[in-house]
Amino acid sequence: MPHPRTAPALAAAALLLAATACTADDSARPAPAPATAVAVTGPLCAALPTGSEPGNPTFLAGQPAEAALTWMPTLTTFEAALRTSGALTGLDTTGGITILAPTDDAFAAKFSDDTWDTLMTRDHQKLRTLVTAHLIAGAHTVDELAAAGTTRTLDGTTLTVTRTGPTTRFGGKADAVCADYQAARARIHIVDTVLGPLPTTADGTGHRAH
């Protein structure tokens, strides 16, 4: 073991922290306010930051998509997967991008902890395939996608998009639970089921023992 040593004092960062009482992350800085408030729709929206709370939909509208995702507290798994896979980093998104973002609950229902850790630590190619199955070229509202009836994700899969009452369903199984977030050149629709080709490995018992 190296001898314990005093942590380097990040004085400048600390002062910044103290002065702004805010994160050092660029994404936390106020974005240019859009002309109108952003309306998101779906049963989950009420459980996400709303009104003037940090991370509210209007605030997120000017953020890069990756930064916007960090403010949606039900997307911790997907956000990390997108980041780890690098699927957006190498992508030309000047034409816009649509992100179908499964909730943490959706991932918990899909993958066991072991599968997920393997995807995140070793099988990055497979992870990238999984993530791209949730990306669509162009920034589309759910209304636009539903009107088209089908769409194609970046992994080459054609998804049906159906509308039943207020609910928009992708690929016959993933319902939008909070749709129409805006981010810079992006639309984000939170869905309740993981898409893509990977098999289900969760056994329904919740996560493992401590």
Partner: protein, 701 residues
Amino acid sequence: MRRRNILIALSTLLAVSLVATPASARQQDTPAPHQVTDLTVDQADGYATLAWQPVPDATDYQIERTAVDATDTPTGPPTIVGIWRPNRQINQTSPTFADAGFHPGDRFRWRVRARIGTTEQPWSEPVAGTTTAPWGNPDTPGEQLRTQWETTRAAQYTSDTDEYAYTAAIDQLSDRVRVVEIGRTVRDRPINMFVIGYPTPPATPAAVAATAPVAINCNVHGNEPGDREACLIMARQLAFSTDQRVTDLLSHTTVLIVPTINGDGRAANTRGNSTGQDLNRDYSLIRQPETAAYVAMIRDYRPVAGYDGHEYGNSRAGDLPMLPPRHQNVAQSIFDESQDMIEGHMYREGAQAGWWACPYGCEGGGNVGLSEETILRNTLGLKNVVNSLLELRSSGGQTRPDEGNTANNRRRKTYSALWTFHQFLDYHRAQLADITTARAQAITGQAANTGRLVFRGSRPIPAHPAPHPGDSPPPLDAPRPDLILDNPPCAYRLTEEQYHGARTDGPGGTGTTVAQRLAAHGWKVVKTGDSYYVPLNQPERGLIPLLLDAQGVENLTDGERVYPTLTGKRTGPLTVTGFACLAGATVTGPVTVRPGATLVATGSTITGPVTATGAAGVLLADSTVTGPVRITGTTDAISLIDVTVTGPVDLARNTTGADTPLLAGTTVRGPLTCAGNAPAPINLGITNTVHGPRTDQCAAL
């Protein structure tokens, strides 16, 4: 849509309010049958404790919360936020519920009603209160610091970089805090530890160890971050609070907080570290740098009590499932004291504060909470540390229906962890004498190397008496017959290849050597001849076979069992030239340990001088020596634990390198002289009784 729903709810509420009787008149009314009465609310950090008079025959209670403004006019819809059930607390006469999840600082009104069967009874009169704002005056330097999690209202967890900045700011602004880096993750993220004492923390790990410190491990699984946020908030409170309780606590011990040993996993939101290794299956094997750092910290700082924070997916569990070290090799006294901390303290205090502490498992726990020594809870127990696992139930479950809102869910978890960690400090403060007694018993008992060893198998945890918080204790997990060793060896012998050979079980296929890992554990190893011996008469006796015996379920290497060389009576001089092990032996005559040789003894009586000059090792435990004991020039290891010496004891010019000589729980009827030893001997907090003068390095032992 949503806005309209709120408006409808608001107008309904207003209508109800309009027909309600004015408050002044209400108070004189006789309560309706089965109406909850005497509802009170007490505010604390991140939660509000509701308490009321029980209603006869109530099946359960519903807790309703409504956001209100300063004039107590509702600003949001009433919401059922809690269900109180009888298994929630150990006493039924004073029901309490810790409501949490709201943004701290907001004002609310609460009501409680009983249900009999499924029939709802009348609501209580409301109580209103402003909840406690996030800790720390925004205008006071230091106190004003906030984590990313706090400033984003729990929408984001505190990132690695924000943690470092926050940690460094506390370090800089508080004299009570020193932040040390105890290691680095696989991806080279720093693993920091707050060392907190009052007015300042002791300067060295050994000086900290002398204060019987407590250690909190906040984030081992990267996707279970709730405890970590509590730790960061608590570090700020301990660093800057002028509250008399806090300064008193910190005047009597040192608090060690490791916010994130798994920074790589936290950044990726994965359970394991960046290699996919579950770190809470690695605390004995220490294949990974993160766990090795924590174990070496335990060796150097020697906490006497610990908590290990997790989250738990069982939605039927209580708020705060807890579990002591259960492996059967853990000393009974450590198990008992840990159980007392959980069932004696946390259950009782939980019933006061309204938190549902419960045994691990609770309802539908499954086959979890077992004896793996790879789990920190058990590893710490085997290191004679009173400790508990802490789980935060991941979901709102059946008793907190308003946690579909993620921020509410996150805040409940974090503030329940904050409550637990503060209670842990209070327990340590109140029970330190009991804790140190349990630890002393454990260390002397372990070093005596008596009784069977088990490789896997738990002590039973009986169900807490009804109405217990919890319906099912963790599984019995008794040891299988093939995992019991009735005849413990004296030591394990390792070859050069086993001890120093290259290993492949670490990150990237490179592992540290067995030598490095045993050193991180702080075990005494002696080299005699071509072999390395690890005697069992050491404080961590219960853990040694799990790593070095071929029968160990997850062992490091297949060491050779070495059995005692002398067990009966012997009269006449005994000269040790190789590795000698006395167990239950009676020797009448002088014992001489030659250069390079090793003497290990337990349960033995020696009448005659014991002289070791240039020995590799001298390790005596649970034994009696009549005659002078002179140990000089030892090269590898010295240990005298629970030895009674009638005559002088002289430890001189021993140079044992990385090994610190132990002199603990020993009685010397004569002078005790220690001079020129490097390192100087220590007593592990177990004082020695010396009837003669003590000098030099042993003056304070």
